[in-house]
């Protein structure tokens, strides 16, 4: 419940701060729904940078953070009260359309559906994170280290240390004020904001029922609601990508230059969440230039618009790229290292994911991602609703609003990058809000159809959305006991997260001064001792050169400060099999001599087999003997 209270506070703070900022950034006079959504987006950018500023100053502790957040809230409320916005909001609330929902049967079903999705995904988000590899490996692992150190710093031997960490700053606040549950709720909050954004922007050129339908469809998408309840960043990326494109389209349509700056801030935030967020900078900028050219001289100098948009992007995203460039020489580190003459980062690829790279599979991509999700899902429940595909043909003909070409361009850009890059479905989520807007166009087309077809189509859409929501409800059932306290967190995690068991043993048996080198296990979030991933340590130190092929490994590791080695054996083959699979020669020989030959290392713990992804895994902890 603390986590829910905090996220309500963060949401209110975001809207309040964003509203105060937005008066100077072209938000005044927009439709109320658009104003609230854009204000929320701006406020979340401010929240992330407030945490970063505290981190850089070395003040990452609960009290200073709470004080800064409270001060920002008070300041923004004062600014809003002075500008009359608070009084305006109060009177607008009195006239809010909420009461009409219960009198209009066409509104009841979508509103109830959205409420069900929000409640069930919230329930899952409130459980401690298990089987969420990227969250336990770095989205939460690095914030855990910032919280421990009380400051933001470059985590040594982490391939993720220089990645843009916009969301991880919010996750840091989550860990500091409550725990990993609050961190996950930031993604949940951004999912709600995206749905509201889809509603607010699909209204341009669409009917209100269609816009409402699109917002609910976005929420009731299995991939989206499953991702919303984790401390991942894919829904957050979808949110800011969509807000950037939507704000720029609106800015040009209504000739609001200030809004172009706001759009740039959103684009920069998208780029500060994930490198693929750069699409949100490049594509809208090019589209905007073309749109301004079409408008002719009355639109003013396109260069001025571009400068505002890119200026906003540099303001909200530039820091992370400048930092990576200054430290490593590559602003996109650890990606594109080959372009900058740096060693390639180690990475584990899902080699069994995706389709062959040919024209047939590229053209059939919209069909495949909806109908054959198993090709693209590594096991996180990543799936799109059948409704997207059902309504797609209708969106492609008939009158189209001005934003249509931008939505299609954004989808095409993401789809192309994704198809030739990593075909994991969640990496395509940034295209989903745009697809939801196309579904709104299709929905309006259905409204003009004959009564029997209209009834069939609406029943068809409702059936599939209810089906996916029922699956969510069924899944949430497994999380209810731990959230309500009927099941202990420890028992919940022991049965679901293999790395938790290894971490528990290490936390209760190793001294506080222990330092662990981890082979195979990347999910180190639950470890309360400092730990380093062996693959990155090897990449940076190339230690076989320092030791020599016939030298002793254990004394070298001791000199580096390591006291223990954690080994996850992913097969039934035990230590020898794990070393054989993980290391190439000559590293394998060094490790076999140390761990199997007993030269300087002794076995301290061997776990019983636990199941991960249907495979038994076993953990071994070796003590490195002082020389």
């Amino acid at each position: 419940m603390t986590a829910v209270a905090w996220i309500v506070f963060f949401s209110a703070l975001a809207v309040s701060m964003g509203w105060a900022l937005g008066r100077r950034l072209g938000l005044s006079g927009l439709a109320p729904a658009q104003q609230v959504v854009f204000a929320g987006g701006l406020g979340i950018v401010a929240e992330s940078y407030a945490v970063l500023a505290l981190g850089v100053l070395g003040c990452l502790r609960p009290l200073p953070l709470t004080a800064v957040l409270a001060a920002l809230f008070a300041l923004s409320l004062w600014l809003n009260a002075r500008s009359g916005a608070l009084a305006g909001a109060a009177s607008a609330l009195k006239k809010a359309p909420a009461a009409r929902v219960w009198r209009d049967p066409a509104l009841i079903l979508p509103v109830l559906l959205a409420a069900a999705v929000l409640v069930f995904s919230l329930l899952i988000a409130l459980a401690p994170p298990a089987q969420q590899s990227d969250a336990l490996c770095y989205h939460l692992e690095l914030p855990k280290q910032y919280v421990r150190a009380g400051r933001f710093f470059t985590v040594p031997y982490s391939p993720n240390a220089y990645m843009p960490f916009f969301m991880e700053m919010l996750f840091t606040a989550g860990l500091l004020l409550q725990g990993p549950q609050l961190a996950a709720l930031f993604q949940w909050m951004l999912g709600v904001l995206t749905a509201a954004g889809v509603f607010a922007l699909a209204r341009r050129g669409g009917s209100r029922p269609a816009a409402l339908f699109a917002g609910v469809l976005f929420l009731a998408t299995p991939g989206i609601f499953n991702n919303m309840s984790t401390a991942y960043v894919d829904v957050a990326l979808a949110c800011f990508t969509f807000l950037a494109a939507g704000a720029l389209a609106l800015a040009i349509e209504e000739m609001r230059k200030g809004l172009a700056l706001t759009a740039g801030v959103f684009a920069g935030a998208a780029a500060a969440i994930k490198l693929t967020g750069l699409v949100a900078v490049a594509v809208p900028a090019l589209w905007g230039l073309a749109a301004l050219r079409r408008r002719g001289p009355k639109a003013g100098n396109p260069a001025g618009w571009l400068l505002l948009f890119l200026g906003g992007a540099v303001l909200s995203g530039g820091f992370w790229y400048a930092r990576a460039a200054a430290a490593t020489g590559n602003p996109f580190y650890p990606y594109l290292n080959e372009l900058f003459g740096l060693p390639l980062a180690s990475k584990i690829r899902h080699s069994d994911i995706g389709t062959p790279l040919n024209l047939f599979f590229f053209v059939s991509l919209p069909w495949n991602v909806v109908v054959v999700p198993k090709w693209f899902d590594p096991g996180m429940g990543e799936r799109l609703s059948a409704v997207y595909l059902g309504l797609l043909p209708l969106a492609l003909w008939g009158a189209k609003p001005r934003w249509f070409s931008l939505a299609v361009l954004m989808m095409a850009a993401h789809a192309t990058l994704w198809f030739f890059g990593n075909q994991t479905l969640r990496l395509l989520f940034a295209a989903v809000p745009f697809w939801a807007c196309l579904a709104a166009l299709g929905f309006d087309r259905v409204r003009s159809f004959s009564a029997p077809v209209r009834t069939f189509a609406i029943t068809w859409c409702a059936f599939f959305m209810l089906f996916d929501t029922a699956a969510l409800a069924y899944r949430a059932k497994g999380f209810a006991p731990v959230v309500t306290g009927a099941q202990e967190e420890r028992a919940f995690l022991s049965s679901r997260e293999p790395s938790f068991q290894a971490a528990q043993w290490i936390n209760s048996n190793l001294p506080a001064s222990a330092k662990v080198l981890s082979i195979w296990e990347r999910n180190l979030f639950y470890l309360a001792r400092p730990a380093v991933r062996e693959d990155q340590f090897r990449l940076e130190e190339k230690y076989v050169q320092a030791i020599g092929e016939s030298g002793a490994l254990a004394p070298f590791l001791r000199r580096q400060g390591f006291t223990h080695v954690l080994l996850r054996a992913p097969s039934r083959q035990g230590v020898a099999g794990a070393l054989g699979e993980w290391f190439d020669a000559p590293y394998r020989a060094l490790w076999e001599e140390a761990l199997l030959g007993g030269k300087g290392a002794t076995l301290a713990h061997e776990s019983p087999p636990v199941s991960q992804w249907g495979e038994p895994v076993r953990y071994f902890v070796f003590r490195l003997e002082p020389s």
Binding site: Q131, G205, S207, V370, V371, P393, R447, S450, A451, V453
Partner: protein, 53 residues
């Protein structure tokens, strides 16, 4: 233009027609195809996919 924009921008009104056109029939066939294939893909391992792990 916002929530209270003029009726012109509120999108098409509900049609009173009873007889479907050929295009509408073709689209219903598409819906059925998508629906059947989507449902068919939800066999047991896929349900695990939808539900997450």
């Amino acid at each position: 233009m916002g929530l209270d924009e003029p009726a012109r921008a509120r999108g098409p009104h509900m049609s009173k027609r009873k007889r479907p056109t050929f295009t509408e029939f073709a689209w219903v066939a598409w819906l059925l195809a998508v629906g059947v294939c989507y449902a068919a893909s939800v066999y047991v391992p896929e349900v695990r996919g939808v539900l997450g792990r």
